[in-house]
């Protein structure tokens, strides 16, 4: 904390600013940003939305889990539930094909409402989950997620039962249809970038540092005068807002929402994405999401090409997840960093001083 306070007045100087945003120093990050920006020139409509758009949306939702798990030490399985709740709220307050349920508010009113409600929902869930510690969090959040799934399935008054809500309207602003491929891609990209840098910023802000202190030693932080539970609940609130953003984009993407989109498997998918990508860096969830989406989209064809049953996609995902959990506690990022360190060590003895 003292470090950031020291650097705070020196923002005009270039070096500390680069230290605060390591991406600015990294040529690979600039390259990735450039590729993402010119993606509509490279990729066709299918790839743009089905692969990269979906990746970024799932990445945003998994990012909220990464924030909680990586910086707060709380593995929450309800992040997709919060996203789904936001999606449902967009459908309920906004315009959709189910006129008897949707209230028909304009998007600029329905979307903030959905985000606020999703944040409240996630914060309440978090307040419940922090009543107990550690491994219990996973159980309570899984129970919340599963309960929400069954609730949407059996409730017809608000959630329209197992058929869900269809043909959800998407915003048209400034004469642009924001659901047509290219504007929607840029919208997703902008939100994803915003969330990414927000998480990056918060992780270095006093709140984020205190949260990491709580993760490492809650009793010591309590002794130092920090309100441990308040920090945890605030972390849930922040993560819920991010998950809510992801959920709004998700419902605009598919234009419908049903209990299937908030099922327990989906909740666990988010955990898989975050863990496979790596939960120590905000970039991890996006890498995990890319791997997941590519596998989900192409596993069928590849499996059939090798003469195997194409329906065994989830088996592949499960085995891959098991392998990652067995061999790398830090997902793909961890594997890559370990490999780099070994490369750096073998030719010259200058070991990389990167934290890992």
């Amino acid at each position: 904390m003292s470090l950031t306070q020291l650097h705070a007045p020196a923002t005009a100087v270039e070096r500390p600013r680069f230290r605060a945003w390591p991406e600015l120093n990294n040529p690979a990050a600039w390259l990735v940003a450039l590729i993402l920006l010119i993606m509509p020139l490279i990729a066709s409509g299918f790839f743009l939305i089905e692969i990269f758009g979906t990746t970024l949306i799932l990445g945003i939702i998994a990012l909220s889990l990464m924030f909680l798990a990586g910086y707060g030490g709380m593995v929450s399985l309800m992040q997709l539930t919060i996203a789904g709740f936001a999606g449902y709220m967009v459908a309920v307050f906004g315009v959709s094909g189910n006129a008897n349920i949707s209230l028909g508010w304009p998007w600029w009113l329905a979307t903030p409402m959905a985000l606020v409600l999703a944040t409240i929902f996630g914060t309440l869930g978090g307040a419940l989950a922090v009543r107990t510690e550690g491994i219990y969090t996973i159980m309570i959040t899984l129970a919340i997620g599963a309960a929400f799934y069954y609730f949407t399935n059996q409730n017809w008054a608000i959630f329209n039962g197992h058929t869900g809500i269809n043909t959800v309207a998407t915003p048209h602003v400034l004469g642009i249809d924001w659901r047509s491929d290219i504007p929607f891609y840029y919208l997703i990209l902008a939100v994803a970038a915003l969330c990414y840098f927000a998480v990056q910023y918060v992780s270095r802000a006093p709140f984020g540092l205190a949260l990491q202190g709580v993760r490492d030693n809650a009793r010591r932080m309590a002794a130092l005068g920090f309100n441990v539970n308040a920090h945890r609940v605030a972390a849930y609130a922040f993560a819920s807002f991010i998950a809510g953003l992801g959920g709004v984009l998700q419902v605009w993407n598919y234009r419908q929402i049903s209990p299937g989109s908030v099922g327990v498997e989906r909740c666990i998918d988010i955990l898989i994405i975050a863990v496979v990508g790596g939960i120590t860096r905000p970039i991890g969830p996006f890498i995990g999401a890319l791997i997941f989406v590519i596998l989900r989209t192409f596993a069928l064809d590849v499996l059939i090409k090798f003469g195997l049953d194409g329906n065994r996609f989830r088996l592949l995902i499960g085995l891959g997840f098991l392998a990652i959990v067995f061999w790398s506690s830090d997902g793909v990022i961890g594997l890559w960093e370990r490999w780099r360190r070994r490369q750096a060590r073998s030719p010259s003895s200058t070991a990389g001083s990167r934290h890992g």
Binding site: V75, L128, R131, T132, G134, I135, Y136, I138, M139, I140, L142, A143, I144, A146, A147, Y150, F151, Q154, N155, W156, A157, V264, E265, I268, L271, I272, V275, D309, N311, R312, R314, L315, I317, G318, L319, F321, L322, V325, F326, S329
Partner: protein
């Protein structure tokens, strides 16, 4: 009990009134006004009985879950898969041999064997790493679910009830009085009662085994302090394997039970995982009596909820969990 009344007189009073009211609702002949307000007594009694027998099934699933957690600190999120596997094995055996009892034995042994393999091959390697173990169980649940979908497909299976348990039985509970003054008694499926009695017997046997035998003493000591127990020279790994086998085997038996009075299909694993989670959160992690209490509460809440407020039934279950977490985060019957 006496201490509880001394310490919380108000709560004890509320509990006693609630129990008395419940007993009156079960045994009395309902006045017409009440029947008009909340429906027929037969519906209510059926919901109560379904709730309690469902609680018996939940207890079978959740007791294994809570036992494994209590001793090994392993939140086994693949427990639902073990349940489903037990159900499929039971179905295969009963369809092949026609013997219902044999399907219990084989399902117990097969699922216990899976449990032994899991403990020896997987969980032993990552002892003390709670979160990693849990992640592994999530991965295993996905793999098991897909393997079972592969082998058994997406169909519903129902295990054949043996002929000596088919049909209803008359219970000495009056549901209504006919205009001729003749009382009408409750008819209830025999098989559900038999299964409930069996789960009570299993529960009592587990309690006796834990509290009255040497191996039970070792397990209880392990729940309290694993390291000291290992230091006294007990073969703790053997105890772990045995407990995991027992817990998994109970899930297998529960699978056969569930396959008999409901049905088994993909997705049931998640349902019963959720049920076990809620039951042990409510009852208290690692406590067998807690699992029993939680199972009955959740079973009743689910059945009464689905009869009286059908579209919000799951909310009742969930609210019970929230209430317990808010008032007593460690669970109703957990020590600590």
């Amino acid at each position: 009990m006496a201490r509880f009344i001394e310490r919380h007189p108000a709560w004890a009073l509320i509990a006693i009134i609630a129990v008395a009211l419940l007993l009156w609702l079960v045994f009395a002949v309902w006045p017409p006004g009440l029947e008009q307000a909340i429906g027929r007594k037969r519906v209510f009694l059926n919901a109560i009985f379904n709730g309690i027998t469902l609680g018996g099934l939940y207890f079978l699933v959740a007791s294994g879950f809570t036992l494994i957690f209590g001793l090994m600190r392993n939140v086994n999120l693949a427990h639902g898969s073990l349940y489903l596997f037990g159900g499929y094995v039971g179905y295969a055996i009963s369809a092949w041999t026609g013997s219902w009892i044999l399907s219990f034995v084989i399902a117990f042994l097969a699922v216990a064997l899976v449990g032994v393999l899991l403990q020896i091959l997987v969980f032993r390697r990552m002892e003390g790493q709670d979160l990693r173990q849990t992640m592994v169980t999530i991965g295993l649940a996905i793999v098991f679910a897909d393997l079972m979908l592969w082998v058994f497909g997406g169909d519903f299976y129902q295990i054949q009830t043996p002929s000596w348990l088919v049909g209803p039985v008359q219970l000495p509970f009056i549901t209504a009085v006919k205009s001729s003054g003749e009382p009408v008694y409750l008819q209830y499926p025999m098989v559900r009662l038999a299964i409930f009695v069996a789960s009570v017997i299993i529960g009592i046997a587990m309690w006796l085994a834990l509290n009255r035998t040497r191996i039970g003493m070792i397990v209880r000591a392990g729940v309290d302090d694993r390291d000291i127990l290992a230091a006294t020279g007990v073969q703790i790994q053997v105890v772990f394997v045995l407990v995991f086998a027992l817990g998994a085997g109970l899930a297998g038996i529960a699978g056969v039970v569930g396959g008999t009075f409901q049905s088994i299909s993909p997705g049931e694993d998640t349902r019963f995982l959720l049920a076990s989670l809620v039951v042990v959160i409510v009852g208290g992690m690692g406590s067998i009596p807690g699992a029993a209490l939680g199972a009955v509460i959740i079973g009743l809440a689910e059945q009464l909820g689905s009869v009286y407020i059908p579209t919000y039934a799951i909310v009742v279950t969930f609210l019970i969990m929230v209430l317990v977490l808010a008032l007593r985060p460690q669970g109703l019957l957990a020590r600590r």
